[in-house]
Symmetry: C2
Subunit: 305 residues, 2 copies
DNA sequence: AGGCAAACATGAGACAAACTCAACCTTTTC
DNA sequence: GAAAAGGTTGAGTTTGTCTCATGTTTGCCT
């Protein structure tokens, strides 16, 4: 019924002040516009503009359509631009979300480095999707999700970034500080500090405490890593944390990092992306950069590769 | 390049889960869709969806276009609906703005009555356009503006609604209360209370004080009519006001209403509308209702007709 | 008034776009 | 392993949209 062409014509007509001028702008003949309007006005059942006036005057219907044009044409142009970027492959969009709180730390150097290499790519670290990032990824609202448990989802591929050890931070003078490694039962009498997210997203619960059916004496949450470290250092509790996130504190003797279980608790971080994005050059490069920076960031912190 | 048809097809495809189903919904053959997508994907330079999967899966480009479809198709439908309402003539939109503060009082009964008669018409008393309602009217953002000074503007027609007398409200024991009528010089020593708008929109300045080159001792503003009446009654100032707006207070002996100048200061309220809206049945009816209710509201208040 | 120019309308024909039909792959299903 | 279902492809037809040529209206000039 109504076509984009019509909106473009109306828009041009408003700028041009006459059919002849508008036709020029659109690289069409005046006749074409005349036909177009005649047919459109027939379909709409009413005139869209008054002809004989010098600066053309629109009727209410014409104004309503102009309003529509003003609202939609920019959206259209933006979408077309995005698509041709996608097709070009040299630029595009990279909206990310991270499931793991402590990942900012290593993601930031990656982002900085990537921004230099691909200034054209629109980078964004989304904060609004932290509740359900994977559906947003599938929907197209996000382009990359950093997660430690890859859920099998059609069209989503997971690229392993690196493996790290989850450890327990305890105060230096804590009674657990002298043990070679922590067992689940050690936490029966402890206060466990975690990020404020659901338990099933925390490895220390799903892969350490729950298999042994152990519940800590108390659980409290904190948003910020530094805050958690303060609480730990002052003996107010213990907390599970990626080993590289702890390194900054443990290497300075602020807290002690203890292995969880005899063999340690290891987890792998993955980048989840839509399968077809693997082909985009900037995406390949981002993933390589991410791996690289994680290696160098974690170097000397004995990251498991 | 990109056409609405494409967005509709993509949208249908998402709902339908297969080309065959989508074709059915669009009353087209499956072949048509296949051709359509082939050509579109060629133009876009990349695939838009993965075929062989049962619930079809979209690529990033496809998702981007779906996002566009979600944003634009509703706008389009809304516009088409508005247009056909306009064409039908029995329903439509009536977004109003009033330039005159005290007009709410008589506009409300008009609106109430009109709403009963034309429930299909989308009524709105806009507040956001009080700064420059006439351009908004010309642009199509508004459909009717109540004003007391009709500015000549192409495409805008003014329909006179009614004429009223602007009077001066003074306290009962005020020294001016005993005069037969007020002359500009009477205000030299008075505090004048007005609505908080520019002076050139206030008749008492433009048509009474300024021609005589008189400036009141003081000018203060107030948003609310009742507030102004309180100030006047307690002798804190005087204020110009349509005679019918004063009636509620003067008839109860709360304040006194005095004529401005020997012959009185009369003003006419007009409804400004776009010329082509004069044909809309609901608009004609609204204007008649407005005149009618103003007569009855002002009855016994000796409005000048 | 007459005549001229500019703006718009209209009819016919050219051409392209988009659809249908029919035949042909490809994958899934029983 | 055949049938069914989903999708592709090429040919042909329909539909629609443009241009070209020409007609009509309006405003303007002297």
């Amino acid at each position: 019924m109504l076509e984009i062409r019509h909106l473009k014509t109306l828009h041009a007509l408003r700028e041009a002040d006459s059919l002849v001028d508008a036709a020029d702008r659109l690289h069409l003949t005046q006749s074409a516009l005349s036909h177009q309007f005649k047919e459109l006005e027939e379909r709409m059942g009413m005139p869209l503009f008054v002809r004989k006036t010098k600066p053309v005057r629109f009727t209410s219907a014409g104004l309503r359509l102009l309003q529509l044009a003003d609202a939609t044409l920019p959206l259209l142009r933006a979408a077309e631009r995005d698509i041709s970027r996608l097709a070009g492959g040299t630029a595009g969009r990279l909206h990310m979300a991270i499931e793991c709180h402590s990942c900012f730390q290593w993601l930031m150097p990656t982002i900085d480095q990537f921004r230099d290499a691909w200034p054209e790519v629109e980078l964004d670290l989304a904060s609004g999707f932290s509740f359900a990032p994977l559906p947003a990824l599938a929907r197209g609202d996000l382009d990359l999700v950093v997660t430690s448990d890859p859920v099998d989802l059609v069209g989503i591929t997971y690229v392993p970034l690196f493996t790290y050890e989850a450890m327990l931070a305890v105060a230096n003078q804590h009674k657990l500080a002298s043990k070679a490694y922590i067992v689940p039962e050690d936490l029966l009498t402890e206060t466990l500090i975690t990020y404020p997210v659901e338990r099933d997203r925390l490895d220390i619960f799903t892969r350490f405490l729950e298999p042994a059916d152990v519940e800590p004496a108390q659980v409290r949450t904190s948003e910020l890593t530094v805050m958690m470290m303060q609480l730990v250092a002052s003996g107010r509790g213990v907390c599970g944390m990626p080993h590289w996130a702890l390194h900054e504190y443990s290497s300075r003797g602020y807290v002690k990092a203890k292995r969880l279980g005899e063999k340690g608790l290891f987890a792998t971080l993955y980048a989840g992306i839509r399968a077809d994005m693997l082909d985009a050059p900037y995406m390949r490069d981002f993933l390589l950069t991410a791996k690289d920076t994680s290696f160098s960031t974690l170097d000397g912190v004995s990251a498991v590769r």
